[in-house]
């Protein structure tokens, strides 16, 4: 649990972060979003005291972080930055094992943990372990960066535009992986980005900042339905509804009963598809509804009414889409 209390950072005449209050519950994925210069990175860096605040406090599980030794604090939080910051003089194994090494783990335990983590981020330990950072692609390096941050199993993960420097295709894949990974490891995450799609896709809650002032802190759905002010509405623009549809899977929303077999031939869409994909299918095919299927099994039907119901439902839970997602809803 991270509790940020009237946190402020002032540089001479500039107030980079202005009295921000923010709670991130255990296991929650909070995204700090805003235009450049909005203070999101400064806010993030005050959490692990890379920047010391002018005033205000950050509590970690109820303890004031200012009272902890700064190295101890940082070792208890994973830290991922845009250009990976991998150490070029160390192998991938050594990079990933950095924090456990700093914590004085024995070699066997570190080795086992490094293997486990490289597997977790989808890199074969035998192939990638002995390599050096300059031998990796941007996407691979970023995965190693995430593995290094997770090494000592810290409860908190701080990520500063981690996918900002990779190509769009890789970025999308990394975002999907991040979503799956979070479903598995359930860390308390603070994630800085200026990419609205990325924020809406990944966040449990978004903290939208402007000139150091927190504008709204809520789920993307709430921001869509009840924007706190004109800035919030304008920042997300017209597309927020579609972006939110991309957050949810057919498997996570209530479906209508399927029409009796044989009466109508409806297009079939897998339950792992997002609401946005289902909408595209509805519009494209001109049908009144699509059949939601899990393999050959028909789970139900999904039409415009079901879509409206799903979006007005108010449940803001973000559930991972894709093959790993469990089939839910009513049959």
């Amino acid at each position: 649990m991270i509790e940020i209390r009237s946190l402020t950072k002032r540089y001479d005449s500039l107030t980079a972060v202005d009295s921000v209050d923010l709670d991130v519950a255990d296991g929650q994925f909070a995204v700090l979003l805003g235009p450049s210069g909005s203070g999101k990175t400064t806010l993030l860096r005050m959490v692990n005291r890379m920047i010391e605040p002018t005033s205000g406090t950050v509590l970690l599980d109820g303890r004031d972080t200012a009272e902890l030794k700064v190295e101890t604090l940082r070792r208890s939080m994973g830290y991922v930055i845009q250009n990976t910051g991998l150490f070029p003089n160390m192998t991938i194994r050594k990079n990933v094992g950095t924090v456990p090494r700093l914590l004085g783990w024995d070699k066997k335990r570190i080795d086992a943990r490094v293997d486990e983590l490289l597997d977790l981020v989808g890199l074969d330990p035998d192939t990638y372990g002995p390599k050096r950072p300059d031998q990796l692609s941007g996407g691979e390096a970023q995965r190693v960066g995430v593995a290094r941050a997770l090494a000592a199993d810290p409860p908190v993960l701080l990520m500063d535009e981690p996918f900002g420097a990779v190509d769009p295709l890789t970025r999308e894949r990394l975002q999907q992986e991040m979503k799956r990974l979070q479903a598995k490891v359930k860390k308390t995450i603070l994630f800085v980005t200026h990419d609205i799609d990325e924020a809406v896709l990944l966040a449990d809650r978004i903290a939208l900042l402007k000139s150091g002032v927190l504008q709204q802190y809520s789920t993307p759905e709430q921001m869509w339905r009840e924007p706190a002010n004109e800035f919030v509405r304008g920042f997300f623009g017209e597309n927020l509804g579609l972006r939110i549809m991309a957050r949810h899977c057919l498997s996570s929303v209530p479906l209508d009963p399927a029409p009796p077999a044989g009466t109508e031939t409806l297009p079939r869409v897998p339950a792992s598809a997002t609401l946005k994909e289902a909408l595209a299918e509805l519009v494209g095919s001109g049908a009144s509804a699509v059949l939601v299927v899990d393999g050959d099994r028909v789970l139900g039907s999904f039409g415009f009414e079901a879509l409206v119901r799903a979006l007005s439902d108010g449940s803001g839970d973000s559930i991972a889409c894709g093959p790993g997602a469990t089939a839910g809803g009513t049959a």
Partner: protein, 394 residues
């Protein structure tokens, strides 16, 4: 490592041909070799083709063959190997023929007769270096290329050890001074080792200080810049009263042999010059480290010492060693000055030879200094590369 770009390989052709033609031309320069009555009186200088007879023409042929191979459309690997071999063979052949001619001249003339190699001969050694340097651009790096490059060095050592060069004047100077040579060589190396060690410690410390406390940067490099451009002898002159005063007043300095001349000013002046390249490279290396890497290192919870030892120094070390390399080469040459102020070292032969107008005695000092400088340069370069295993893409 990847292949060198094509333009480098094309450019190497021009360099190799220039080198080979320089070697060929050097054989016709009338200051190639001289056959003298004795150690001091120089005979009529002649060109290598005159002095070495038929072998002189063979050497010219080898140089021209090297140039033709360099220009030929042969595959890079063949071209590189053959041109390196020919470029290396020419000076070895020249030295062997000169050694033989010198032996013949002693037979023909008298026991005190001397044969001196003149500047055009030394020019052909340089030409060989140029040809080999260019030809290696066509070869893949590795131990094969390394061996091929050093083959002529092995050749010269073999000639010397088998006594083929023993009647050349430089070799005779060595034979006359063999005991003293060993002493002065050791002394010279001690000066280099001492001064570079002091330079390394101070250079690292000052470079680190300038990096950590930016306010000191102009002070540190301002001082070092002034020291660097201060003439050696003026420096020694200024220290003279200070050092003599010290040994006059304190017995401990006198017992250590600290005087206005001798080893003390040599070590001080050489150390002062050695600090600059090391301090400068240390500072530059530390200040130009990737900010993201340092940010990440602090972010994962490394303290100052760990940051320095695990990240900053390993990343900066190749650049620091590059500074060490400059300091080593510079100090090896600079230590000649010891010969002038009673400090000994290889400079002794240089200044003694100059006083006696015995050119070959000067060479007895200069040649080992050049060999040492080249050796330090290559060794430090190898170390520099070994310290940077992550730079494998270039």
């Amino acid at each position: 490592m990847s292949k060198k770009p094509g333009t480098v390989r094309e450019y190497a052709k021009v360099v190799a041909v220039t080198g080979a033609l320089t070697g060929a031309a050097a054989a016709f320069v009338p200051s190639g070799i001289s056959f003298n009555e004795n150690r001091i009186i120089e005979g009529e200088p002649v060109s290598l083709v005159v002095g070495l007879g038929a072998w002189g023409w063979v050497i010219v042929g080898v140089w021209i063959a090297a140039a033709l191979v360099a220009l030929s459309p042969l595959p890079d690997r063949v071209r590189g190997n053959v041109a390196t071999l020919l470029g290396g063979a020419a000076p070895v052949l020249m030295l062997w023929a000169a050694g033989a001619a010198a032996a013949a001249w002693v037979q023909q003339s008298s026991d005190i007769a001397r044969t001196s190699l003149l500047w055009a001969s030394w020019l052909s050694l340089f030409a060989s270096y140029v040809v080999i340097f260019a030809a290696t651009a066509w070869l893949a790096p590795g131990w094969r290329r390394g061996l091929l490059t050093y083959l002529p060095v092995i050749g010269v050592i073999a000639l010397a050890l088998t006594g083929r060069l023993s009647q050349l004047s430089v070799a005779l100077e060595y034979a006359n001074n063999a005991d003293d040579f060993a002493v002065q060589l050791r002394l010279h190396l001690a000066y280099v080792a001492g001064a570079v060690s002091v330079g390394l410690v101070l250079g690292l410390a000052l470079g680190l200080l300038a990096h950590r406390k930016r306010a000191f940067e102009p002070v540190v490099f301002g001082t070092l810049n002034v020291l660097q451009v201060f003439p050696t002898l003026a420096f020694i002159g200024l220290m003279y009263p200070v050092l003599s005063g010290l040994s006059d007043r304190f017995a401990v300095f006198e017992r250590l042999g600290v005087r206005g001349v001798g080893w003390a000013p040599v070590i001080i002046v050489l150390s002062a010059y050695a600090v600059y390249p090391i301090a400068r490279n240390t500072y530059t290396a530390l200040t130009s480290l990737d900010g993201g890497v340092l940010d990440a290192a602090r972010g994962v919870g490394m303290g100052r010492t760990r940051l320095l030892l695990e990240v900053e120094l390993p990343l900066a070390l190749p650049v620091i060693v590059a500074g060490l390399r400059v300091a080593l080469v510079q100090t090896t040459a600079g230590a000649i000055v010891a010969g002038l102020i009673g400090g000994g070292g290889l400079g002794t032969f240089v200044f003694l030879g100059a006083a006696e107008t015995a050119t070959d005695l000067i060479l007895l000092g200069v040649i080992p200094i050049m060999v040492l400088a080249l050796f330090f340069d290559r060794s430090a370069l190898a170390l520099q590369r070994a310290l940077q295993p992550w730079d494998t893409k270039r």
